[in-house]
Each structure stands twice: as C-alpha cells, then as structure tokens.
C-alpha cells in the first residue's frame, strides 16, 4: 500500500493507494499516530483504495475516536466496494464520508 502525506495548514490529508488489510493496516496506524499531533483535522482520501478489511476498519475507528476530540476526520472519494463495507459494518453511520 502507498500512503501519500500532505499537510495543509492544520489539515492532514492521507491519500491511500492499494489494499488496506491486516498486513498494511499497521503501516497506516503508524503514520496516523506519528502525524496526528501536527494536525487538527484528518482527511483520508480513499480514491485509489481497492479494498478495506476489518483490520483497516479498526485503524479508521481508532483514528475517528482520536480525531473526534479535535477537528474531526473525513473520508473522501470512497469507491463502491469500500462504501459497501462501510455500510455493511455500520461504519457509514459514524464516519463522515464525502
């Protein structure tokens, strides 16, 4: 998986490419943990994300919880397949998906 970091003002945008599964989720978790202090708001660009597993959802959930105390977290450019996962798991109810 490829993670593209971009910090604009206090908004951190992470563009993900590839599969977010058990093997790659820790990588994202590490990046978010490392960069989160610098940012008030987090945007996850899922435009090129092919797949998300429950391990990926877990990272999303913890990021969401951490960001809820700050400027919030947004997930953008979610493709159909990932959106379905969000809907099936009920994550679409708690995540801000644009």
């Amino acid at each position: 998986m490829k993670i593209d970091k971009k910090l604009e003002g206090s908004t951190l945008t992470l563009a993900l490419e590839g599969r977010l599964d058990t093997t790659t989720a820790p990588e994202l978790e590490q990046v978010i943990r490392a960069e989160l202090d610098k940012a008030d708001a987090l945007v996850l660009d899922f435009g090129k994300l092919e797949y998300i597993s429950s391990a990926g959802l877990r990272v999303l959930l913890s990021a969401h919880k951490a960001m809820a105390k700050k400027g919030g977290m947004k997930v953008t450019h979610v493709n159909e397949m990932v959106m379905e996962v969000f809907e099936v798991t009920g994550f679409s109810d708690i995540l801000t998906v644009e």
Binding site: R19, S53, L61, M81, T89, G90, F91, I94
Partner: protein
C-alpha cells in the same frame, strides 16, 4: 584598500552569481559533451576577462581568475574545468608575453590557472566523487590553489626574490581570501538552490557527526597546529639568523672602514710631516739662492715670484731681522699677519680653512728669514693620495645600508650623509648608546639596525642597515615556507583523509549496510569485511551473533507456532462441533477455517429454552491472539446475554457496552444474531455490522437478504440496534458467513464476491448442509488458486424443516 576589497568582492560575487545561474539552468540534467564544453568555454572566457580587468592595488593587478576553472571543474564537470583552465592559462601566458599584461608573473599565473582546471577535475572525480563540495572544502580548494599560485611566483623568480616578495606580499592575502571565499560562496549558493543547505552553526549532537568528519576536524586541527608551530619556529630562527647576518655585515664593514680610515689618517699624518719637511727644504733652498744672489736684501719681488713658480708654493716672503716682511709673493698683508700669529705658536702647521691645509716653514738667510707656505692638499694630490671620502665611497653596507663618520657635535664628516648635521635627537641617541654594540634606531628617517665605533676622541663611525633589508630574506623565506607548508599540509591532509576513508570509514559503511540489511530481517546476510584484523573479527562476531540470533528466533518461532497451535485448538474447541441434534425440525452445519493462524471469526449456536435456537456468526477485527481473545469475550458475552432470554437487539446493545469497556486495543466485532422459535419458524434477528445473510425460500433460490444494519460491536458505546423478524417456512434455508468468503481473492486479486457465493449455494441447494459447506470451501479454494488466504472463512448453514418433518424422533418437545 577599501576600494580594492569592494572591487574584489564585486568580481567574486559575479562568479558566484554565474555559477548559481548555470547550475539552475542545468539542474538535474545530465550534461552532454557539448554542454560540458560550453561551460568550459564560459568559465575560460571569465578567466580571460579576469586577467584583463584586474583590480589595481599597490601597483599590482589582483584577480580571481582561478575561480573560473575551479568552479567549472568542481561544480560542473571535469571536462569543463580542464577546458576553462587551459583557456585561462594559455591566454594569460600569451597576454603576459606579447601584450605585456603583468608579464612578471605570467608563468606563475598561467601554470596555476591551467593547474586549477586539472586539480578541480581530479578533486571532482576522486575526492568529492561527483558530489557538490561543502563550503569548507570549496574554500580550501580555492585558497590552496592561490597558495600554489603565490608559491609559483617565488619559484619562477629565484634570482629576484625582492620583487617576488613584493608581489607576494601585496597579492597573497587578497587573492587567497577572495578565491577561497568565492568558492565557498558558490558552494553555499548551490546548496541553497538545491535545498540542501543546513545551518553549519546549528548545534549537532555527537550522534549526527560522521566518523570521517570528526577525524578530518582533528586532523585539520593537529596539522594546522604543527604547521603553525613549525612556521613560528622557522620564523624565529630566520629572525635570529637575519639579525646575526646583519650584525656581521655591520661589524665587517665597520672594521674595513676603520682600517681604511686609520690608513688614510696615517697617510695624512705622513703628508703633514712630508709637507713640513718639503716646506723647510724649499725655504732653505730659497734662502741659499738668495744668499748666493747677494743676501736677503737682493731678493726682490721678481726673485720671490720666480721661486714661487719654481717650487709651486702658495706664497714666499723675505722677513727682516725685525720680523717685518720685506718682500713677498702671494702673501697678502692680512695673510702675513695671520702667518705671524701662527708662527708665534708652537705648531708648525695649522688648518687655516677646512678645505685647505697648508704647511709653513722658514729658513735663516743672513739676519732675516725666508718663509714659504706649501699646500698640503696639492702636495698630497701630487703624492697621488685620494681623499678619505673618495676612498670611503667604495664601501657599502649591505644593499641599502649606510655608514657615516660623525663628529661629536653631530657634523657628518664623511659617508653617505656627508656635510649634513644630525638632529639633536639623533645626537642624543648616539651619545647614549655604547660603542660597538647594536641598537635599533631611526637616525635618518628609516628604522635601522645601527652600530657605532670610535675612530678618535671626536669621531664616531656609524654603520646602519635598514630593518627592511635585515628582514628581507627572512620574510621571503617565511612566505615561501608558509606557502610550501600549506600545500604540503593540504596534500597530507587529503591523503590521510582518503586513507582513513578507505581503511576505516568505507569498511564501517559496509558493515553498517550489512547490519542494516540484517535488522530489516535478512538474517542470511553475511558480513565479510576482511581487509584488516579488526574488521575481520568484527565481521566474525556479527556473523556469529546473527547465527545465534537466528537460532533463538527459530526456537522462539517454534514456540510461538506451538502456542498458536494450542490457541487454535482451544479456539477450535470453543466452537460447538456437534451438529447432530435429537430432533429433525432443522438442520445445522457450520465450519471455521482460520487463515494461517488463529483468527477472530466464530460461529455459535445454542438452545435458549427448549425450542428457541440461537445462531451467531461473528468476525473480530484483526487476527492473531488478540482477536482470538476478544472473540472469546464476545462469544461469552453474547451467549450469556442470550441465555438470559433477551431479544437479539437488546443482547447486542448490552454486549456492545460490555465489550466497549476496557477496549484499549480498539477492536470491534461484527455480529449477526438470530434466535428462532423452532415451533413457529419465527426468527428474531439483529445485525451489528455483519455481512448480509443469504436466504432461500422453500423451492426458490438463495438471495442476499439486505437486512437492517447497526454498527459493529465495541466500536462505540450506547449504540442501539434495531432488530427484525424473519418468518421461516419449512424448507427455507439460511446461510450466514464472514467476509472471508466474499473477500477471498484469486491470483489477480479479484474477489470471490457474494454473486459467486449465491450461485454456489443455488447449485447445491438440494444437498445436505453437511456437504454444501465443504463444497463452498472447495469452490473458494479452487477460485483462489495459488493466492494466499487472507482471512478466516467461516460459515453457518441452517435449514428449517418445521414440525412437518419433526415428527419422527422428536424428543422433549413441549407437552
């Protein structure tokens, strides 16, 4: 001076600007040969311009010509550097030889410019390895190149060290400093352009400093200290030698002058005696002649005049017995009076005026006397004795030194400053200094090393040598050895740092690179730096350590594998395996196939009361032991809550809150839960973020049942779930699964998907569930091919037959 600094700064700044501009234009590109030659031409042209537009300073033309080839070679390409050097150097030689531009230093200048091109090319390739040099190195490159330039001036003018020293004295500092600064500034400019600039004054922790840099720092410090001490020592020695030489010169010259003076003095005394004797003899001769002629009275004026001519006398006179002059030739009355006065004294001769010294003699003639006056000077000249001054004019003190013979009253009798008088200060100084010692004073306007010697009570010989001449050789040698020392030091420095780089640092880097690969998990990496005993033993130690580590890791892996195996067994045993029920109103079969290790999926079924059967399928996020443990928690919580007879939605609500508590690992679990009343077929369900169930109505086909969803358990507290109701009729089948099925991938990462699942279910819809589930598993395995199974594959099939079939063997039904 200030104007020189400003002009040199401006020229240097132009070079820096040019370098930055060319660099920006060619940035990141690979230079073609044409471009390399073009850059060489540009810098060569700059070098030529520098030659012709030097900065005038103390009659010297300062320039930073060498910046051209140096910049081209160091910052761009060796070819450019060599070309620029050749252009600048050859043009400089031609300009010096044919156009008279600074022809004195033409060889030194042209050689150093050519060399600058070649040296920068070599440094670029071998020392900096085609990387940009740091500002410090760039400074030293420029400065040392100019040091060579200056040294070349000395080498090429061995026979004319004074001029060479003057040239070097004027040019060395500005040219060395500006060329060095120019290179350093260019380096900084390029680093800034490339965005690599780091503040060198930032405090760096010891961890960030490479060994080579630290070593080079100390090497620099030590060699600089040694060089400085050596130069100071040599300078001190040279000073001593210079002063000793100057003293020897003064002593030798003074001795010679004294000897000459004494000799001349003796000649002078002899002349006195001779003159007296001559005068007496002449007086006697004239008296005799007069006596022969008939006595003193007969000696008339014409006789006396004749005698004067014959004997070449100043004057001759006949004096009566009473002492009165009878007749005279060449004697004025006043002169006669003076002579009388003189003759009445004891001395025979007396200087009557400073430039004419005469002797007087008389001879008895009858009752009177004949007296004659001879000119000692003309006599001395006749005796071919030159004057003191003329003799002394052949003496010299060093090249620019002087000597003088001075009377006590400060009048200079002879020597360089003859006929002048010393200032009162100088007289006082001379009087204060003991003779035959050396002292430094400014007696005639220039500071000089002086020595005096008494020639007589009244006369002193002063010899002096200007300090500038005293120290001329020392200064030339000091400059020369400083320049040579700096070049030698540079060569040693470069060689030693390269050696250390080759012997130590490169090896360290090799070892480090191997260690890096090892840390990244390549445990089969072997460190093989064996070109010195230390590195060989280090390599051996590392290899050994890695070997031992590999053993430990293998052991640990085995242990973990065993433990995981246990965990899998435990987890497996936690799932109900008994699918035979003592009743026939339903059929149930479930499998769980973990991916690689223990997973977080589980299924569960159990009776809640006599006729109510609870079915659970769940998927914990993540894998491994944490997922397995969380799964156990979830399973226990759900079962416990279900057994207390609650509705599925309520069960999930409470289970969620329980699981949220202390969920530091932020795991969650998707759950589908259904509780069916086997008597009525009525099934209450709730779905916490789990996959859609598939449902087959009797006689129909399987289809996804898009049920009402809630959030996965343990994600957030206080989530309310909305349950729903399914009415199952006999013959209906329900199939639930985890995402391991639809998300199973083949070698092209294509997903198995729910469509394939539904098709497969339909294809096997008439078969017993015991065969359906393994068939699906096989189909998934076929689909995946060689692709790895990422996720647990868990499924649960339920067929409802209702009470129509439930007749036989039905035990324990409600009475």
């Amino acid at each position: 001076m200030l104007s020189m600094i400003l002009k040199m700064s401006a020229v240097t700044a132009l070079y820096v600007l040019l370098t930055a501009l060319i660099w920006l234009r060619t940035r990141g590109r690979k230079l073609s040969l044409i471009q390399k030659l073009a850059i060489g031409l540009i810098y060569g042209a700059c070098a030529v311009l520098s030659t012709h537009f030097g900065v005038d300073y103390s009659h010297m033309m300062l320039n930073v010509r060498d910046l051209g080839p140096l910049s081209a070679g160091l910052f761009f390409d060796p070819v450019s550097g060599m070309l620029a050097g050749l252009i600048g150097g050859i043009e400089r030689y031609i300009a010096g030889t044919y156009w008279g531009v600074g022809s004195y230093t033409r060889i030194a200048c042209s050689v150093s410019t050519c060399l600058a091109g070649f040296v920068s090319a070599l440094m670029h390739i071998f020392i900096f390895r085609r990387k940009k040099p740091s500002a410090v190195y760039a400074f030293f490159m420029g400065a040392v190149m100019e040091v060579f330039h200056m040294y070349a001036v000395f080498i090429t003018h061995r026979d004319d060290m004074n001029m060479a020293l003057y040239v070097v004295r004027v040019c060395a500092v500005p040219m060395i400093v500006f060329t060095g600064l120019g290179m350093a500034a260019s380096s900084v400019a390029l680093q800034v352009c490339a965005g690599e600039w780091k503040n060198p004054f930032r405090r760096v922790s010891a961890e960030e400093v490479p060994v080579s840099q630290r070593f080079q720092f100390w090497l620099f410090a030590v060699t600089t200290a040694i060089l400085t001490l050596n130069l100071l020592f040599a300078f001190g020695l040279q000073t001593q030698i210079a002063i000793q030489d100057a003293r020897n010169t003064l002593v030798t010259v003074s001795g010679d002058i004294r000897d000459t003076y004494v000799k001349l003095r003796q000649t002078e005394e002899n002349t006195d005696a001779l003159a007296g004797e001559t005068a007496r003899m002449q007086a006697l001769a004239i008296a005799e002649a007069a006596a022969h002629a008939g006595g003193l009275e007969t000696a008339d004026a014409a006789f006396l005049e004749r005698m004067r001519d014959i004997y070449d006398l100043v004057s001759v006179a006949s004096v009566g017995a009473d002492g009165k002059v009878l007749q005279s030739a060449g004697e004025s009355p006043s002169y006669a009076a003076l002579l009388d006065e003189v003759l009445s004294g004891a001395s025979e001769s007396q200087a009557i005026n400073p430039s004419t010294v005469r002797s007087v003699a008389g001879a008895r003639c009858g009752t009177g006397m004949i007296r004659v006056v001879v000119d000692k000077k003309s006599l001395a000249e006749a005796l071919n004795l030159s004057g003191l001054n003329e003799t002394l004019s052949y003496f010299h003190v060093g090249r620019t030194g002087t000597f003088d013979i001075i009377r006590a009253n400060g009048l200079v009798m002879a020597g360089e400053h003859r006929d002048s008088t010393l200032t009162t200060d100088a007289i006082r100084t001379l009087a204060a200094k003991p003779t035959e010692t050396f002292f430094q004073a400014s007696l005639f306007g220039t500071e000089a090393l002086c020595r005096t010697e008494n020639l007589s009570d009244d006369l002193k010989l002063l010899a002096l040598l200007p300090m500038e001449e005293v120290y001329a050789d020392r200064d030339a040698q000091a400059y020369e050895s400083a320049l040579a020392g700096i070049m030698l030091f540079t060569v040693i420095y470069v060689l030693i740092s390269q050696l250390v780089q080759a012997i130590v640092v490169n090896n360290l880097q090799l070892v480090n690179a191997s260690l890096h690969r090892i840390t990244r998990g390549h445990l089969d990496e072997v460190v093989s730096v064996r070109n010195s005993s230390e590195f060989a033993s280090l390599s051996n130690d590392i290899n050994q350590t890695v070997g031992v580590l590999k053993g430990y890791i293998a052991a640990a892996e085995k242990r973990i594998e065993q433990e995981l195996e246990f965990a899998r067994t435990i987890q497996d045993s936690a799932l109900p395996k008994n699918f035979t029920f003592p009743r026939h109103d339903f059929e149930l079969f479930a499998t769980m196939d973990p991916a690689k290790e223990v997973g977080g999926d589980f299924y569960d079924f159990f009776f809640v009361g006599d006729d109510r059967l609870a079915l659970v399928i769940a998927d914990v996020s993540g894998k491994g032991i944490p997922a397995a443990l969380f799964m156990m928690r979830a399973k226990t919580a759900i079962r416990g809550l279900a057994e207390s007879g609650r509705e599925p939605a309520e069960i999930l609500y409470r289970a969620n809150n329980t699981l949220c508590e202390g969920n530091d690992a932020e795991m969650f679990v998707t759950v589908w839960l259904g509780i069916i009343d086997l008597r009525t077929g009525q099934m209450q369900c709730a779905n916490a973020g789990h996959e859609y169930p598939t449902l087959m109505r009797a006689g129909g086909e399987y289809a996804l049942f898009r049920d009402r969803h809630g959030l996965a358990l343990a994600a957030m507290e206080e989530v309310r779930f909305k349950g729903y109701e399914l009415q199952l009729e006999p013959g209906d089948r329900l199939f639930v699964y985890t995402d391991g099925i639809p998300e199973a991938i083949d070698e092209h990462t294509e997903q198995y998907g729910t469509d394939r699942l539904v098709n497969m279910l339909n294809a096997t819809r008439d078969e017993p569930l015991r065969q359906v589930l393994p068939a699906i598993r096989r189909d998934i395995a076929d689909f995946a091919g060689g692709a790895e199974q990422f996720d647990d594959i868990t499924m649960l099939g339920f067929a409802y037959y209702g009470s129509e079939k439930g007749g036989d063997g039905h035990e324990g039904t409600d009475a």
